[in-house]
Amino acid sequence: MVKFNKTLWITIVVLFVVLFFITIAFLKPFSDKSKIRIGSVLILSGEYKSYGEYFQQGALLAAEEMNSSQKQQIELTILDSEGSKEKALEKLKALKEQKNIHFVADVMGTAMMRHVIPFINENKILVLSGVNTGPELSGEGGSFFFRIIPSDGIASQQLSKWAIESGFKKGAILYATDDWGQGLRKALDKSYRDLGGEIIDSRDVEVNQTIFQPIVSLYKETKPNVVFLVLYPKTAALFLREVKKQGLQTQIMGTDNFTASELPDIARDAVDGVNFIIPQPAGEPTPQQKNFLELYNLKYGIGKKPHIFTTMAYDCVKLLAKIYQETQGDPERAAKTLEMIQYEGASGHIAFDKNHDVVVKDFSRKVYKYDKVSKKASILDAK
């Protein structure tokens, strides 16, 4: 008979402890099949966190709406990439490995998205983006990447068309030095020239640049009819202030990132008259848009207007949840289903082309108006 002396007892206990930890470490995360698990990797800290917050608002709104009206609940996990490519990949891995999430409503930022493309395709993670506009993502995104926001290629055509229609045939481009800035600059350059415009100056602007006096002085000499600003809101605002200060008479045009509140906050009266386009249909709102606006106002305040990224996030989460239910959470089947989808969302009609880009939606032309009495800027439909 074996004698249970002290050493043997200690050995058994240690073995149990070791086995316990090994089991924990290798145990696959418990997956609750009754829930629709959706993840998001957003920029929620740093200078561009407002974009992440806008998106988060829409994602939460969609999840809350669906959870209140259906049995199968949405479990939304939102992580912060801090605007870093490496961290975006790390967080996406965490979503997959710790939560077994294969449906992702955006990896925010074109640079971040491009960095995670090999991972999403190797691991069959379906990403539906509502904010990434980099033209490189068309095709490069692979089988599991879709986006409901038009690529910069499309946005640049719309912006160029507006400029040319307004008689602005001599343009200049100021662009941010990152992936998004360079991508949109190339697309704008091409589409504007294709329509008969001439780009007389195209120069990069460092992301946190604060000095714009030399550039505005140069524009006073070269006199472009239009300056396309492919800049982040804070940098764009500083440029606008310099334009106002030096009295440069030229039209300023931009894209959807001009909807961020930092632009009018910093530019103040210099924002008056700035034109930009957003991928939202003009005209009477559809029932889906009305419903979204009601929900938004109920949660975030009556009379407030949702940011374009909030609208996109709302559609991303609702569409992903719908596809998840239809395919029982199988990302391969979900990707095939998305390729054929015809969906009416708050951002308009959603269908995808062969590159998984949203089939072109209408763009709205907008203009900033600054009220000198209330000292507030508002966004109006441009004539």
Binding site: S45, G46, E47, K49, S50, T177, R203, D204, V205, E206, N208, Q209, T210, I211, F212, Q213, P214, I215, S217, L218, K234, A237, L238, R241, K245, Q246, G247, E262, D265, I266, R268, K375
Partner: protein
């Protein structure tokens, strides 16, 4: 001509910050990397006084912010640098880096990372058909006054003589009864108050963020190295020249080119003239 004039306004702000680097270096012989964050701290203090405490006058808020920032600078010296004075310079340098990170994190925690607007009040003035912001003119006027006052005080006042004595030989200065700690505190107070002024000027232009001082601190550091570490005359001239150079680099190159310029200039100066152009010559006593 436009680039020249605007270069002087940018250069004045850089000179203010670089002046702080030089002053601290001349008496403690270390580069205070936390000085860049003092720009941000000063601007946020002004924001707090004006918006949170509701001081009705913006100018009064600026004045108090300069005083408080000066005291913050003195406090930081007492906590982070004084205990390390007798250790290697590397430990003070590392301590300044730690202070820099802590200040930035604290600002992020308290005020968040989204830009805060310091004031809507940012009037312009037109001089000889050129438009300037009043703050640019203020900075440009204050700088030469400050420079003259500072150099006169260095030469003709007790405190000035004490600073020069400490810069020359701290041990001997202590031996003849110069109150080392008080003079160091005064130097930190002056350097921090000036950084606050630079911070307010920058904050009025582009809003307040926890990283707002970073770029100017890099430029000011580059100017300090180019001018010669510790040379106050050098950083004032160097700051102005650097501002002009930056403006031309942006006009005829690009934003990235202008940024690279500072690093290339530092590397070249270190290679050609190791101790900068305005090397301080102090007589031992």
């Amino acid at each position: 001509m436009d680039n020249l004039i605007h270069g002087l306004t940018i250069g004045s702000i850089i000179a203010f910050v670089a002046f702080g680097y030089a002053l601290i270096y001349s008496i403690l012989r270390f580069i205070n990397f936390a000085h860049g964050e003092i720009i941000m701290v000063g601007a946020y203090i002004c924001y707090f006084l004006y918006h949170t405490l509701g001081i009705s006058s913006f100018f009064l808020s600026c004045f108090f912010a300069m005083l408080i920032t000066g005291m913050v600078g003195v406090g930081l010296e007492k906590i982070a640098f004084k205990p390390l004075r007798n250790r290697s310079r590397l430990s003070m340098l590392l301590s300044s880096l730690a202070v820099s990170l802590i200040l930035q994190s604290l600002a992020s925690l308290i005020f968040g990372t989204s830009p805060r607007i310091l004031t809507d009040f940012d009037p312009t003035i037109t001089v000889l058909s050129k438009t300037f912001y009043v703050r640019e003119i203020v900075v440009m006027i204050v700088l030469p006054f400050l420079a003259i006052a500072f150099f006169l005080s260095l030469k003709y006042t007790q405190i000035g003589l004490a600073i020069r004595a400490i810069a020359s030989n701290q041990a001997r200065a202590a031996h003849i009864g110069i109150p080392i700690n008080t003079i160091i505190s005064i130097s930190f107070f002056i350097a921090s108050s000036l950084a606050c002024l630079a911070g307010i000027a920058l904050g009025m232009e582009g809003g307040l963020t926890p990283s707002m001082g970073f770029k100017y601190s890099i430029w000011a550091f580059a100017v300090s190295v180019i001018a010669g570490l510790g040379s106050m005359k050098g950083v004032l001239i160097g700051g102005l020249l650097y501002g002009i150079l930056l403006n031309y680099a942006i006009a005829y190159g690009s934003g990235l080119f202008a940024d690279a310029l500072s690093l290339v200039a530092v590397a070249l100066i270190l290679l050609i003239r190791g101790k900068g152009f305005f090397q301080i010559k102090l007589r031992e006593f």
